[in-house]
Symmetry: C2
Subunit: 301 residues, 2 copies
Amino acid sequence: MFNNILIVGCGLIGSSILRGSISKNISKNIYVFEKSKKNITFIKKISKKIKFLNNINHQVSNMDLIVLSTHMSQYKIIIRKLQKYVSSKNTITDTGSTKRNIEKLIDKNKKFKEIFVPSHPIAGSEVSGPEHGNKNLFKDKWCIILKNRIKSKNKLKKVERFWKKLGSKIIFMNSVDHDKIFSITSHLPHLIAYNLVKTAIDFQKRNKKNIIKYSAGGLRDFSRTAASNEIMWRDIFFENKDNIINSINIFIKNLNSFKKLIENQNNKSILKILKNSKKVRKEIIDLKQDISKPNFGRDIL
Amino acid sequence: MFNNILIVGCGLIGSSILRGSISKNISKNIYVFEKSKKNITFIKKISKKIKFLNNINHQVSNMDLIVLSTHMSQYKIIIRKLQKYVSSKNTITDTGSTKRNIEKLIDKNKKFKEIFVPSHPIAGSEVSGPEHGNKNLFKDKWCIILKNRIKSKNKLKKVERFWKKLGSKIIFMNSVDHDKIFSITSHLPHLIAYNLVKTAIDFQKRNKKNIIKYSAGGLRDFSRTAASNEIMWRDIFFENKDNIINSINIFIKNLNSFKKLIENQNNKSILKILKNSKKVRKEIIDLKQDISKPNFGRDIL
């Protein structure tokens, strides 16, 4: 499919792209640029065919596709480095979890505007690092691509084909919708999980009771989400600030209403909310975003 | 171990007790009192040895152990019915998720005060009904027993042995501590999950966008928790009202502080909170309340 692709940043996402690309024979040569020596040691074990760039250098100009999969806070530096070597022959995409910020970054630079097709694969885990990468991470998962950003249909097609080859289902979207939608379906849930765990820590300190050991009744599942990579999530919280603050406000409003329903023992309204949640669950399963198999904790019964 | 036990209410929890009791040969005869005909059909398939009570009647007086596993809102009616037949020879326990309310109920009645040993097994799922019951549901899980409630050491021992036989690890606690602790580790997480899903529904309605399909980034996992039985959870929210309202208030306070940290892009404080969450996760795994295996969504990679 390609002659040369370059993966910039090879953690959980980058190494999953790497493994998938090898498995699907996506490119004759696969290059990796990764700063962490520890990560490089892991990556070398995946396949002997992987080529490493020690620097962002002239070789970059030969890449058919460059995939950024570093933390978003690294983008500025990397774009600055890439700038020297890329031309209209190259195509760039990325995997960042917020998109308006990436667009703004690209818009500042005419060269990038013509070759950068931002994307966001909706896949991940609470673990990070290349040792957890998986060639099927993107299989049957959505990948959002920002359309209308780029004049070259050829480059758009290239990025689309790339993700399809890794198993993704493509959705075209604009960055404004993207950042709004994921502030609710992804950023708010993570933020809430972090703050729920914080609330438990605070309680434990104040009451001098070990409550974490009783986490099986609910806290446990949130703690998994709250174990996600802190750099990635700090970047998301900062980069999608306005939408996230708005989401927090709506959520707090809902919490306050719910609190009143409890105070007044409003049976009918509470049951309605709880039942509606169940319907959403069914919808999620019907949309094949989860399986219906019950969960009793992740240890096997 | 016993000659006769009676399980009152045979949904997910009751039928798991039933299956575990059969598997561990806990009693010569196992009786079930269950109102739903649909449930009875399922339960009959589990074993031919199960005996059914059509009513709470004089047979109750022969039971060595009576286990209440109905919704808590049914307790009053059941206790009223049991009252006619139980004596100091019987022992009663239960599985309710809040305990101060049960204690109050017992305290009103001298007879029950002497034979009722309240307990709470920390196990469950988002699914309900006897078809999902599992004989190992309580294996290696905590079971909280209210000590100091009962004079008879014999009855306390009986309840303790019963849960141990089902595989539980016993913790003795008072009801005030119990209801405080679980308001944080269980009730608040569920309440939050319900309200997060509600926030997503509201957003979807207001923006006329189908966002549920993008739930894989976090919302999905919350939706599982938010699919839990609505009667059970309404009962919990009402019965542990004061602690839960207090927990909501602390949580909202934390959310507002976090919002300010995002607004001010307070890098250091945000990273500290996110990193501390990860430590709790490690603690939960070390305490064997979850496994360390990464989750990429519950479909297998």
